[in-house]
């Protein structure tokens, strides 16, 4: 780089206010002692002034500023609306995902729901009965006996009859005394309740105790 180029750079840096204080002092000494340097400074200043008027000519009028501000505001509104929609969609999606996870988790933990118990008992099968006084042997199928009749009195004692869902007589039992008949009926009804409870829990009872 020639001395002249270095001088030009130094003067331009001085005009740009980029020289250190030492460099400024050095330049000012040269400007006062070297007319060529001063002439160069004047030329560079003149070129700079010409450009200053060009920079000023680039400044827009109010109309241009208004157009930009209007455009920016329009785009801002659009952007804010999109942000709001995105936020709402994300929130709804997260909520739906949580609910779905809750259902799936609950299903996996609890398992499939239990099958409901049948409403009607299966049709009964005839049961052999004994009707000897004092003989209390009874055998019946679980759920077969639906109803008990009130004890009826005859010459041989008290008779308790069993009927199924359809009202068919499926058995009877004779007792010496009314007290025994009633105790039996109470006992039977309790057993019947126990049968129902077992059925509802899904357990199938084939035979009860023999006595």
């Amino acid at each position: 780089m020639s001395a002249t180029d270095q001088d030009v750079e130094m003067i331009e840096s001085y005009l740009d206010d980029e020289l250190s204080s030492v460099q400024v002092d050095d330049l000012r000494r040269r400007l006062s002692n070297e007319p060529a340097m001063q002439s160069l400074m004047d030329d560079l200043r003149s070129e700079r002034d010409a450009r200053t008027s060009v920079w000023a000519s680039y400044e827009p009028g109010n109309g241009s500023v208004e157009r930009v501000l209007k455009g920016v505001r329009r785009e801002m509104n659009r952007s804010l609306l999109l942000e709001k929609v995105t936020r709402t969609t994300r929130w709804a999606g997260s909520l739906a995902a949580c609910v779905a996870l809750g259902f799936v988790g609950g299903y996996l933990i609890r398992g499939a729901p239990a099958q409901p118990a049948p409403v009607d008992a299966p049709p009964s099968t005839p049961v052999a009965t004994t009707a000897h006084p004092g003989d209390g042997a009874i055998v019946w199928n679980a759920g077969a006996a639906k109803d008990l009749s009130n004890p009826t009195r005859d010459a041989n004692g008290y008779l308790v009859s069993f009927t199924d869902n359809q009202g068919n007589l499926i058995g009877s039992q004779r007792f010496k005394s009314l007290q025994e008949a009633r105790e039996f009926m109470s006992d039977f009804q309790m057993r019947q309740q126990q049968h129902k409870q077992l059925q509802n829990s899904g357990v199938k009872l084939i035979a009860e105790e023999q006595f």
């Binding site: 750079e9 980029e18 070129e47 400044e59 241009s64 952007s79 804010l80």
Partner: protein, 180 residues
């Protein structure tokens, strides 16, 4: 005038929005001038400024909007240079509607200004951008380097070479005027 920054703006849920609006309203004139100086007639300065500003808006929460001057200038300069990158934009228009909007602007548009403007438009994009930020925005070499993502020595070189090229382009015109 625009209602940006006026009280009662419904978009007050996010305080950054209001700060952003005020910043844009306060700096838009300068930003348009910078954009015009860099892109010349190869793009619309309004588009440059709007795009640059909206790019910042998308990430508004990252910045401090209390002193946004430097940030906005950098954004506009970068957007202007991006638009000027190949494929080259065709000339948009020779029409400068804003030039006739101010009486002073009309008076300034003399022959010398036109010649100098023409020469500036011929400079390489980065040279022109560096020169605009130095002489019009009065930024330091360090600030210009940050705005253009360059080093200080690079910026010094660009500014120096821009001035030398302008001197070369205008030499004949200046000498002619001196003789006259």
């Amino acid at each position: 005038m625009s209602d940006l920054g006026k009280p009662g703006n419904p978009r007050t849920e996010d305080p950054t929005v209001e700060l952003f609006e005020k910043a844009v309203a306060a700096h838009s004139k300068r930003l348009l001038a910078i954009a015009r100086a860099i892109v010349g007639y190869r793009a619309l300065p309004e588009d440059v400024v709007q795009q640059a500003v909206m790019n910042l808006f998308q990430h508004r929460h990252r910045y401090d909007w209390r002193e946004p001057g430097g940030l906005l200038k950098r954004a506009v300069v970068n957007e202007a240079l991006r638009l000027l990158r190949p494929p080259k934009m065709s000339m948009v228009s020779d029409d400068q509607p804003d030039q006739t909007e101010t009486p002073i602007a009309g008076m300034i548009e003399n022959e010398t200004t036109a010649k100098v403007r023409e020469a500036i438009a011929k400079l390489p994009d980065h040279f022109r951008a560096a020169l605009v930020l130095c002489e019009y925005e009065d930024l330091s070499y360090q600030q210009i380097a940050e705005a253009l993502n360059a080093t200080v020595p690079q910026v010094k070189t660009w500014i120096h070479r821009a001035r030398r090229q302008l001197e070369g382009m205008l030499k004949g015109y200046v000498e002619g005027r001196r003789k006259n």
